[in-house]
């Protein structure tokens, strides 16, 4: 990865070059250096396998420039170039940008305030993960595989010739550095971050057993510690969940654990909590800004500075101070994730009043605190457009109860610990979703966990209102949860719910 100093030097030189161009009224230069290192796990007891199937890195360095033409304040262009941080590359990008200018009547100008960052947010957070060698990743990954196999040997009820033990998942290390400057800023701005995500799934197919374990963190110590724990934890959980019951279809009282809550938030709620979604009239909370949208015991915020959060950001990829965004306060919708373009687009939208609703204060602004340039990987990229993305998404509760009381509140029902393939089945705005229960789940009888639930035997057909608007009880503890492919880390409670519709599935392939 390139050093922060090198990125800043390049931005400074590129801005100086662009400032000499007569037809350019304003300009911005953003560059990034990112690395995503992955050790993918694949152990299968009955099929030849490699243990660590892919041990790989993806490196991306590059820059994007944005220019505003002098002849028209709304004529703008962007161009991105990978690899080459030289002035020759800047000239090439400039030519390309001139070739593709677009007059966008909604272009708000380049981000401009603050012209200089407060001293308190200038220093980037350093993590020892920035200097972690491959050796440490390989050790942690193989420790997961070894821990899992060892736990199976110690805990398996029978010594089967073909147990169908499967260990999958990955240990990923994500590191990025960015620098940005513009003709609207006095200073050059830089940031860096590093965190790891590990996700392990253990299956014992002969026992119809499945268990998972996940971890996120921001230090090498934590990565090493989790490597020693995760494989064992996933297999131990799988063995405890063997030969689960297959309940009948119907409307069930359920507890949704942290992973299901995080998954529903990620796919169903967060995309609705952006200024862009309100402008496009696709938010599930269309017309409800400023009003209660979920239960008053629940609050939701995004916090790039959270001390427990692994995704640390000092500035956004638009060069603006990253800050906590309060989204839902005691059930009431009070904020949206946004970037500079979408904030302006919603502020100047002629249908704003209808889209936000009567409960919104006409003067409400949506500060651009969340404009990150992400790709398919969770690292910041040089060629992405600033979207509206969260960092550490925290759901907090008031009057929450412990796990025992939460399960007790259900009486007879199900504890659902993991769901899969959650999508807005009738469009984002309708709030309808469907998914399947894929593991880590139990039958609840008389207010206690009574028996494991077979994985993949139930489909949930519900609406986000049923999940968040009227829970029977809310958990008091927010736990970390990983959602595959999401750039955000989630910290969420479990919720006890009434009458969730479950369909029985896969009877003709079960067993």
């Amino acid at each position: 990865m390139r050093a922060e100093r090198e990125l800043k030097q390049f931005v400074r030189a590129a801005l100086a070059l662009l400032a000499r161009e007569a037809d350019v009224a304003a300009c911005e230069v953003y560059c990034s250096s990112s690395e995503h290192r992955v050790a993918r796990l694949n152990y299968t007891s009955d099929i030849a396998s490699r243990g660590v199937e892919e041990f790989k890195s993806l490196n991306a360095d590059g820059f994007a420039l944005r220019i505003v033409m002098r002849r028209d304040a709304q004529e703008t262009a962007t161009a991105a170039i990978a690899g080459d941080l030289s002035l020759e590359a800047v000239r090439a990008a400039l030519e390309r940008a001139r070739h593709t200018t677009v007059a966008d009547p909604h272009f708000p100008g380049l981000p401009a305030a603050p012209r200089i960052l407060p001293r308190s947010i200038r220093a980037a957070v350093a993590s020892d993960l920035m200097r972690t060698p491959d050796r440490a990743i390989a050790q942690a990954a193989w420790r997961i595989v070894g821990g899992a196999i060892g736990a199976y040997r110690a805990g398996a009820p029978l010594k089967l010739a073909r147990p169908g033990l499967v260990i999958g998942g990955d240990l990923s290390l994500i590191r990025d550095r960015i620098a940005i400057g513009s003709s609207a800023f006095t200073d050059l701005r830089a940031d860096q971050s590093a965190h790891f995500v590990a996700s392990v799934t253990a299956l014992v197919e002969s026992l119809a057993a499945k268990g998972t374990a996940t971890a996120v963190g921001g230090s090498r110590d934590a990565m090493s510690r989790e490597g020693a724990r995760l494989g064992r934890a996933a297999v131990t959980r799988a063995l405890a969940l063997r030969h689960g019951e297959r309940p009948a279809a119907g409307a069930w009282r359920v507890v949704l654990g942290p992973q299901p809550i995080a998954e529903i938030l990620n796919y169903m709620v967060m995309p609705s909590l952006t200024a862009g979604a309100f402008h496009a009239a696709t938010s599930a909370y269309h017309g409800r800004f400023g009003t209660p949208v979920i239960d008053a015991r629940l609050s939701l915020a995004d916090d790039p500075h959270a001390s427990t959060g692994p995704v640390r950001r000092r500035i956004t990829c638009e060069g603006l101070p990253a800050a906590a965004t309060e989204l839902i306060r005691a059930g009431r919708l009070v904020g949206l994730l946004s970037n500079v373009y979408d904030s302006h687009r919603l502020a100047t939208d002629e249908h704003r009043a209808e889209k936000l609703g009567a409960g919104a204060n006409p003067d409400t602004a949506f500060p651009a605190r969340n404009g990150y340039r992400m790709g398919e990987s969770p690292a910041r990229r040089y060629d992405g457009h600033p979207g509206s993305t969260g960092t550490n998404v925290m759901m907090r509760t008031r009057a929450g109860v412990g796990d025992r009381e939460l399960i007790g509140a259900v009486g007879d029902g199900l504890y659902i610990g993991r769901i899969w393939y959650t999508y807005p089945i009738n469009g984002q705005r309708a709030g309808d979703f469907t998914c399947t229960v894929s593991g880590d789940s139990y039958v609840i009888r008389d207010g206690k966990l009574a028996a494991p639930l077979a994985p993949n035997c139930l489909r949930i057909n519900a609406n986000i209102e049923q999940v968040f608007a009227r829970p029977i009880a809310v958990g008091k503890r927010s736990s970390p949860a990983v959602v595959w492919g999401a750039p955000e880390a989630y910290f969420v409670p479990a919720l006890a719910l009434e009458a969730i519709t479950l369909a029985r599935i896969g009877d003709d392939t079960a067993g």
């Binding site: 690899g83 677009v102 491959d134 009239a281 009738n426 489909r459």
Partner: protein, 535 residues
């Protein structure tokens, strides 16, 4: 199939494509140097790509953006072994970009990537050996992984287009998007939001390995996307759809009349989608009856069924549990001893295959392991026949490799992916298939899928659902979906239409980190029984 016209092979010395030609000459020697210099290295391969990408977008009748990017990337894989016969891999992917224009920089980046991958493979090997010492026979599966010998194929494949992607006027692409978006906005105040986007891409890929393979393949892609939100007093509707071809810009500007995968021009495509979205926003939400009903599903809807329920579970990496933590397993293979190979999984009328040799969005000649792609029959008269595979998974299953391991970009590791995957046509007239239904639903256009972990169950939402009463189409509904167990749905198929159509799928996600891949899926009209979901 369309006739090949203009061809792209070589390039000027001033663009990123020239780096492909340079590596054709020098790449194999660089790999040989690396092998000589690195102890324990058993095998190495290089994949390189140069891409010229142009795009434009407009929303609500206003220009939004226009981009032109030239990129280059490389991916290397190294296998190391020890004296006990144990082996392990390491990979490195680098977006090298404009540095590829400089030959010394390109060779230095290649050497650095190979060195990194080698070090990674050695770390992997050391830890694996230590684990085997600790666990002994308990971890025997780790010592058995086999693989077919690497490819030694040599070939050169040209891209096909009428209008050269390198000389495309960005203004023309921008105008096409702007005019389509403005026309949609002009339909009336029912349209709450619309976005129209177009892209053109010329991609040149190179595969070289230490077994002597050298394969150069070029591709031209165009793609048009439209997203529309409509709201009326009765409700709202969000629709999106894509057209795409492995052709030049002519396929968006003028439309494409290929028999298997035709598309209107982007303007007409976008307007048709917008009109449909308005109509749906005013339609009632489906409130279906309990229990199974007769459903007639159209080719667009069946494209998503073929994708999710045939294509994905036919990927051998899923079947062999390698995707258990992410994309799931396969209902076609519970274990090597207990599986559906050679067994009925559907009606005798049901046939399905993947064929990369057809001119769809998923066309290619060689996969990213250098294996020639060929037609793979998944279901033959209702009986499951076989999987898409890589060289490693083919060895595990004891079959020949069929050329299905592909990465979305050179910096990613190849995964097993669909190509053009579809239900094959039958003999029935689609109109007659509807006319024969006393009560049921005609399900048109796909929106969103949700699939169980082994793809043994699905709920897929449709754009339009019509009641069928006494053989005639009745009322139109929105927010309808089809729910079923896969085997049951396939077994109840009692008619297969003669109207095979494929559509472009631009965004199939798989892998960690996610790789997004283009492909085609399709099928004819099908008739079966399933439960319907509503809103």
């Amino acid at each position: 199939m369309a006739v090949k016209r203009s061809r792209f092979a070589a390039a000027s010395a001033h663009d990123g494509f020239a780096a492909v030609d340079f590596l054709k000459r020098e790449g194999a020697a660089a790999l040989r140097r690396f092998m000589r210099a690195h102890r324990g290295a058993l095998y190495a391969e290089l994949r390189f790509e140069a891409v010229l990408h142009r795009s434009a977008a407009a929303s609500d009748g206003a220009n939004r953006e226009s981009t032109e990017n030239e990129s280059a990337a490389l991916g290397v894989a190294v296998q190391c072994g020890d004296r006990h016969g144990l082996a392990a891999q390491g990979q490195t992917g680098v977006e090298i970009g404009r540095l590829a224009l400089s030959r010394p920089h390109l060779l230095a980046a290649l050497d650095r990537a190979l060195g990194e991958a080698h070090e990674r493979a050695r770390c992997n090997l050391r830890e694996k050996a230590a684990m085997l010492r600790t666990l002994g026979a308990a971890a025997n599966a780790l010592t058995r992984a086999a693989e077919y010998a690497p490819s030694s194929a040599r070939d050169e494949i040209a891209a096909v287009y009428d209008r050269d992607p390198r000389t495309l006027d960005p203004g023309e692409m921008q105008r096409l998007c702007h005019d389509a978006s403005a026309a949609i906005a002009g339909l009336g105040t029912d349209i709450a939001f619309n976005a129209v986007a177009a892209l053109s891409e010329l991609r040149h890929e190179l595969f070289i390995n230490t077994a002597g393979a050298l394969i150069s393949q070029a591709f031209a892609f165009v793609q048009g996307d439209c997203y529309v939100v409509a709201q009326t007093a009765n409700g709202h509707q969000e629709n999106y759809d894509t057209i795409g071809q492995q052709r030049g810009f002519e396929a968006l500007a003028e439309g494409w009349r290929d028999e298997l995968m035709p598309n209107p021009d982007l303007h007409r495509f976008a307007l048709d989608l917008a009109r449909e979205t308005r109509e749906l926003a005013a339609a009632p939400v489906l409130k279906p009856p309990d229990g199974e009903v007769t459903v007639v599903t159209d080719p667009h809807f069946n494209a998503l069924v073929a994708h999710e329920i045939i294509g994905h579970p036919s990927e051998a990496d899923r079947a062999l549990k390698m995707e258990a933590a992410y994309a799931g397993r396969s209902w076609f293979l519970q274990s090597l001893d207990h599986n559906e190979i050679g067994r009925p999984v559907g009606s005798p009328l049901l046939w399905a295959c993947s064929d990369p040799t057809l001119n769809g969005f998923g066309h290619y000649r060689y996969d990213h392991e250098g294996t020639a792609g060929r037609r793979v029959t998944h279901i033959e008269g209702g009986v499951f026949r076989g999987f898409l595979n890589s060289r490693a998974t083919a060895a595990a299953l004891g079959v020949e490799p069929n050329g299905s391991a592909r990465a979305s970009e050179a910096w990613h590791v190849p995964l097993i992916r669909m190509s053009n995957t579809f239900f094959m046509p039958g003999a029935s007239d689609p109109q007659r298939m509807i006319a024969e239904v006393d009560r049921g639903y005609y399900v048109c256009g796909s929106l969103t899928p949700s699939i169980a972990e082994s793809r043994e169950n699905f709920r897929i939402s449709a754009r339009r659902v019509y009641e069928i009463e006494h053989g005639r189409l009745g009322r139109l509904y929105r927010s309808g979906s089809v729910m079923g167990d896969s085997k049951s749905f396939f077994t109840h198929i009692d008619a297969v239409g003669n109207d095979l159509r494929m559509i472009a799928i631009p965004n199939c996600g798989k892998g960690q980190p996610m790789q997004v891949k283009r492909m085609s899926n399709g099928g004819p009209t099908l008739r079966s029984r399933a439960r319907m979901g509503g809103g």
